[in-house]
């Protein structure tokens, strides 16, 4: 078989990531020990960015799969396609990653169907194998291959849960919104705004996370703050940018919207 071209999956420029703990070292150690990793944390706190950053740092290609409820095992493993009157096997993202020694990142794994998640089991223990029934192939994973999954415990506990048999195959890394000063640096860097504006956005996020106990299910994510910052850096009025990028996406409740608007008014 011809060597796989991993160039499309390599990350050229360093993705911006500000470490807030020891997660990079932990990740690297896990990669060296060939352990699969589970990233836990609320939405928009930087899990995906962290994986991109680590892939760049380790110089490995990154294959990302956004999981959804119609994701079947064959979507991960691969399928036969028709080409010039022949059937040709095409690897799915997971198979491809295992072959080329990439980092395979299954984002929001709980969104996938429960039967689908089972196919990753043999890959995640010391066998590091993938059996492709349709093709009759048993693939031994490349030594550099790594499996990373993410999920958001905020809602998985009530709607869906990861089976214990799946959970216990991973080492876990906990993510959360970064501390205020760091979050401000991230927002300033990514959103292209001054640190003082970023600080105010972060203060707003802190206030919004206070409201969470009063009816919002999730606080404002760092991602939303960056969106607001990006709007601001393009000349949108800060208050308007906050309403558009932070308040409106968060909730449909009019009374909570009014409170959020008050908070925005205080800050800008």
């Amino acid at each position: 078989m011809e060597p796989l071209d991993n160039a499309p999956y390599l990350i050229e420029n360093e993705p911006y990531y500000l470490s807030s703990g020891d997660e990079a070292n932990l990740f690297q150690a896990a990669w060296e020990a060939k352990l699969p990793v589970m990233l836990k944390g609320p939405t928009g706190c930087g899990k995906t960015r962290f994986v991109q950053h680590m892939a760049w740092r380790l110089g490995r290609p990154l294959i990302t799969v956004a999981c959804h409820e119609d994701l079947f095992a064959s979507d991960l493993l691969g399928r036969y396609l028709l080409m010039h009157e022949e059937t040709v096997w095409v690897d799915g993202p997971l198979t491809r990653a295992a072959r080329m020694g990439a980092i395979c990142y299954l984002d929001e794994i709980v969104e996938a169907r429960k039967d689908t998640t089972v196919v990753i089991h043999p890959l995640t223990d010391d066998r590091r194998m993938l059996s492709i029934d349709k093709k009759g192939e048993t693939l031994r994973a490349h030594p550099d291959f790594m499996l990373v999954i993410s999920f958001n415990p905020g809602y998985q506990s009530v709607l869906k849960d990861l089976k214990q048999s799946t959970r216990q195959r991973f080492v876990g890394l906990q993510f959360d919104y970064p501390p205020a000063a760091q979050e401000a640096r991230i927002v300033a860097e990514e959103g292209g705004v001054s640190v003082s504006v970023a600080e105010r956005l972060v203060t707003l996020a802190g206030r919004v996370r206070n409201v969470r106990e009063q009816g919002l299910t999730e606080g404002a994510s760092t991602r939303l703050l960056i969106y607001a910052a990006q709007l601001i850096s393009r000349g949108i009025d800060p208050a308007q940018a906050c309403r558009t990028a932070i308040c409106l996406p968060l909730t449909d409740d009019d009374r909570l919207q009014a409170t959020l608007a008050d908070l925005v008014e205080d800050l800008f």
């Binding site: 064959s74 009157e85 919004v208």
Partner: protein, 907 residues
Amino acid sequence: MAMSDNHPLDFLRIADPETHVWVAGRVALMRPAPSRRFLTRLAETTVWALSLESGLGRVVTEGLLQLGGQAHDDLLDDYVARVRRAGATGPTLARLMAMHLVPVLAAGPAMVQRFDTTVGIMRGKGTYTLFEPLSVLGTLLKAEEVEAAGAYLDLLATTFGQDISYNRSVRLVYLLPKAVRDFVPRRRKAQIEQLRSVIQTDPRLVDPFLEGMEKGAALLGATDLARFVDAGLSHHGRSPKAGIAFLSLSSEEGRHFCARLQKVVPLSRIRASLERYLAARLGHRLPVRPMSALGDRLPEGAPMVCSDGHAIYLPDEIDQGRDPAANIALAKLLIRLEAGFFEWDSFAFDLARAIDRYPAVARRAAAVEIRSVDGRCDAERFLDCFQRPALAEAIWLLWELGRVVTGFARRYPGLLRAARPALQNEADRLWPAARADWWTALYRRLILGGAPTGGVGEEWVADLERCFLERMAAESPVEAGADLVCHVYDALAERIGKQRGRDRIPKRLPLGWRLYWPLVGRAFAPRAEAAERLRRRLAEQGIRVYRADLQQMLVRQRGELSSEELQRLVLTRGQGPVPSGADGAHADLAALLAAAGLQPAAADAADGSAFRYPEWDHQLQDYLRDHVRVQPAKVTGSTDDDVYQSTLQRHRGVVTRMRRAFELLKPEGLTLLRQWPEGDAFDHRALIDFVIDRRAGRIPSDRLFIKRLKQERDVAVLLLVDLSRSTANPVAGGQATVLEVAKEALVLFCEALQVVGDSYAIAGFSGTGRHSVDYFTIKAFGEALTPAVKAGISGLRPHRSTRMGAAIRHATVQLAPLSSRVRLLILVSDGFPNDLDYKGDHAIADTRRAAQEARARQVHVKAITVNIGSDPRLDALYGRNHHYVIGDVRDLPDKLLRLYGLLTRRS
């Protein structure tokens, strides 16, 4: 003279020894001692009254004692003469006069004259008309609402001067005093006058008018209310019906007219939103309370906002603005400003910390006993170190306001931009430029961000300004203010030694925004002792924590502190080395809390058979922790499933139809999508076509795959049935009771869900009081539809009350752990929640809250209300779009299933 040798009260002793003992006791307490003439008068009149009727004696004595031993002779004579005159008519009238004359006489001759006229008119209708009306008159006069009292007398005179029937007059005698008592003091006079003009037009308009007042007209100012009433009366002139609708605010026009005029915003209407804002901004709950809750603690000058470190107080009604929107904006502004004191910890001032940190403070406060607990706060104790505490307070307030404003500038530029013009306007209004002094000049500079104080002209003010500004540049704690005061006090005291009135905070400040230390001291007093006890215990362990920090924490936790919280406090706010044991010594801290007499905030463990839930108190805007006890109960009394079978029999038609409908909801397992552009396997039929097409030179279709979709219906539903007493009511136009129909609905529901295969549970609830809410599980999730379950449905019977919130919370706990994609709670009830101490708005607010909590846990709550008409309060109870009203309960079995089908169809 023989008389003068005897005590004047001897006369009474001979007549009635028992009364004499009582009177003598009261007289002995009078200061200054009453004159001899008064005592003689007292004895004579009491004896006379006793002779008329035994009960009258005390009343008359009481009246005379209230007039007082030093009262003018004329006044006494007048009183006695009037009571005696009334006595000639009968003891009842005499008693009324004796009781109510005192405040009238005290109010002066004009009032007396009005009183006479009115009482004369009312007596014409009968003495019975006087009881209630006069007692309210007394209340008004005692509250010194003389004008309102006058207007009230005129109202009574007008009313009873009219030709009205006995029945109507009996009603008015009850209605008018009650209405007048309920009016708000500041608008009472105007409202009484309008009530009078309404009655003058037509006494039948009283009810509609009072209804309108209750609905919102009471919030109108004097002239606006007059305009409203004029408009109403002119409607009435054209058509009495239209006038009634207008005044009672039942007509659209009346409502609009009133809404247009309305300016006042009652605090109760905006409190929840203000508190939500505060919780968001501060990260902890801070209540907003009406000023009236302060009672006698209300600071002088009735400011627009103040706080005591526990809560922020706003006027009961906000009416300074042009319109409601302006008033709401004003309230928000006040809250935002005041929250600054909480955000920058003004109330956490601790003298011990100030002494530790600032040598100047230590020198000044050397003599103060800082550990004592005496109902004052540390700030007051510190201010008392100065010869002129008012001057020290003035300096300190400037600093505190300036510090908070600096914080605003740093963190909330938007807030400051909104607040400064408002403060500036007020400052210009209150302090004309000509009367500028050092304090107002510095206020303008530091708080309003005005130009440097060169205008005042004196060099020392500029020095002071520099001193403030330098220290404010850094983010400083509240204690830094104490240091500043110590530094500048002496020089300043010398400077303005002779300038009277300039050595204190001006009486009126912009928006009344300032700190009121006495309020703080009194509010913290109950916690101060506990905090001090705890501080000492900690100190014994070598852990130093400041009392103010403990105090604040106790306040926020409402007197309960867990060892974890205490530990956090020790680690973050404590000072000095943390002893090695302190960071791990949970048990020690818990024991310490117990030793300090503080309740650890550990959760009350359920005893296995009962569950405790919080209840939402909308007055407090907070949860009452572990307030309700829910006990699982069993349905007893029925072992056969007769109801179940007979219902199936009776509704055979419906059952067949519903089975068919629900078959359609049932998932068919796998769906195969053929000729799909992508999929798991080849669709071989399409593949053959593909090859044929290619061979034939046609462009083949690329839809070659089969996709398998597994259809899942992952629904769990809990049907919660109200078993209150009212479900025993018969259904309108039928023999069956509400519950019997509900049972039929349950039977059909079970049948249908068996077909569709959804996971379901059935439960009922009732109970009495918060300690015994019964929760009957008829079928649990995962339990099969056994004969026992069927018998359970048959055995349901009406019980007692409806504490809906607790039942919803308990049902949510049953649903929450299920892994189903859609979790649904359907509540079937026949009305509003109602239980002991669980009525009206409180019950509605709690139920709504419980439903919100359930939704936050991804449990959909839908309600079906049967047997009552649509009521807008149902929207408040369950939320719009979350409830259904089925007026005729007999439709329930059919509609419940339809509704269920609709709710879950697209799941």
